[in-house]
Symmetry: C2
Subunit: 348 residues, 2 copies
């Protein structure tokens, strides 16, 4: 049997996992998924078991997995991991392989930063959208687009930062911010600027845990102490979340901006721009029609242009963006047709 045992973000065994680990003949301890696991925590935890049974293993050993699976076929084996065991892809893959080979498995879940971060910051977990990881690679467009998608819906985004044990690399928040700034300049969705609010949860689960509320600009130079850090881009904040943030950071709850406000849907921008243009052109067309001596019934067209322009604005206010765009496009077409047909000349 193969046990996956999570230490939680506090790096502490539960009584349940302790009793299961004591039945295990072999205990592997991986330390590559979290910078919070160190020599001290390893020896503390090993001391609670039989230290001779505990073997600290590297990523390659777990990825290869053959030895773990082989022994699990005839003995009770455990893999101790930081946080929740199943958040790491390598553990999930090992679990799948064990299932395929008919090895019984059991997961002892642990607390995970994915869930803890909302509580530490006073935010509601159901107001979070998709999470995203940022790495040291350039072009972090996935992170940027995920933040955009979430903000569009008013949701918060948790950003995990790359940690690589083999070269002891942790992506620092300032570098992450610079990557986002680069993406903003390149993609120009105008989702963040110097004043955008970021929340940071540092070393959660340890004695030196710390939370911060900083602007995009402040984060570039802030000293947040040693890793791990998790960033959160808050979306629309519920009033209880605002109160919690106010209490947490000793600030006026109203001082926290709504990052989602600046997200202008493309459809909204389109309808606003084209409504203005269409109404100006309509006024011009009406003047041209008065001056014209053609026997064409322009009144019906003009009335419809006006109607559909009004509809577009109404649909937009109702959140029916597609219909709004369709209507303003239609209104424009009605009017423009008069020019293409040579019936009227007027300015757009």
């Amino acid at each position: 049997m193969l046990y996956f045992v999570g230490l939680g973000i506090e790096q502490s065994l539960s009584l349940r996992s302790l009793s299961e680990l004591r039945h295990c003949e072999v205990v592997y301890f991986e330390r590559y998924t979290s910078p919070s696991v160190n020599e001290e925590s390893i020896s503390q935890i090993s001391a609670q078991l039989d230290p001779a049974k505990v073997e600290v293993v590297k990523r390659e050993f777990v990825e290869d997995g053959r030895q773990i699976l082989e022994i699990s076929k005839r003995a009770n084996v455990a893999l101790i991991c930081s946080g929740d065991p199943m958040v790491a892809t390598t553990h999930q893959e090992l679990w799948t392989r064990a299932k395929k080979e008919g090895i019984l498995t059991s997961i002892v879940h642990g607390s995970s930063i994915l869930c803890a971060v909302s509580g530490e910051l006073g935010l509601h977990s159901y107001n979070f959208g998709r999470i995203v990881t940022m790495t040291r690679e350039p072009m972090q467009y996935t992170a940027y687009n995920t933040i955009y998608d979430n903000l569009f819906r008013g949701l918060h985004t948790t950003i995990l930062l790359e940690w690589n044990q083999s070269d002891n690399f942790f992506l620092n928040p300032a570098s992450a911010i610079k990557s986002l700034e680069y993406a903003e300049k390149d993609l120009r969705q105008e989702i963040m600027d110097a004043s955008t609010l970021f929340l940071v949860a540092s070393r959660i689960g340890s004695d030196t845990a710390q939370t911060s509320a900083l602007t995009f600009e402040e984060l570039k130079t802030a000293d947040l102490g040693p890793p791990p850090h998790v960033l959160v881009v808050p979306g629309k904040l519920h009033f209880t979340e605002l109160e919690a943030l106010g209490a947490l950071f000793g600030r006026n709850p109203e001082s926290f901006p709504d990052n989602s406000k600046r997200i202008l849907r493309l459809s909204r921008r389109m309808v606003q721009r084209y409504t203005k243009k269409t109404l100006v052109a309509l006024a011009g067309a009406r003047k041209a029609a008065e001056a014209s001596n053609k026997k064409i019934n322009f009144a019906d067209v003009f009335e419809n242009v006006e109607c559909y322009t009004r509809d577009a604005e109404r649909f937009l206010n109702e959140g029916r963006d597609e219909l709004a765009v369709l209507s303003i496009g239609y209104a424009e077409g009605l009017l423009d047709s008069l020019r293409f047909g040579g019936q009227l000349e007027f300015e757009w």
Copy 2:
């Protein structure tokens, strides 16, 4: 000082929380946030502390909170909760009030079903969208719309089901399915039908934990045993997720459908419908123009209608939905203007 101590979904104290609880003069134990806490688990946990110090409390007591906060000002007080303490709104509110009153707080996180469910089902946590809770109230449109929003982006949705300790009510999965069916009939986004795949995680963390993969239709009558249950509507499944599901349920990985495939964006439906209509009308208009003896230059209008119709389809294929809708609306307007002005008569 006020400690919030999570038991995790396994209802087990960690060594760290045990040592903190032993410093507490008063320990409150709430059992209203999870049906997994029962007399047995309460007495087991109390036995690890000084049972005389432990007081089981109801929702009203925590919501009122005054006694807890008052004692926390001069003594070490703990509130033991199932799962992660900060997932429940009442606990978050108490935490905010404590902060406001200058009471030191500490959270000992526990594993939470919100995070554990992905691992138990072999799904990646970063492929989940916003979570949602369903209650016994009719009109569960929030759940329906959340599933739609998530599927639209290919993401999985976790659905928590209402549990109310005071009348021992747990929303069963079959009732939840019926609510979703009702919403589907009413809102007609066509996001699910009888064959839509649902995953169920039942009693996770207990010895009788069980996972199931069922269709929408099967869920209406499935016997899943006692609560708690959590539903997951998977979106687009990564091949490693498909493999995990295959291994978990002993099925061919390819037998799991992609629920996100049937999500037709409204803009796509609009452009497809109106393109067809516009091209038919254009053909009619051309015939009418040939038969007409008016000296109007229809050719320019017709050419533009054709151009913008083609553009609409191209924009759609490029994922530029707003532009696609604008273009098809414009093409329609160009053509329709000829009718409103009385220049041509043709059928739409």
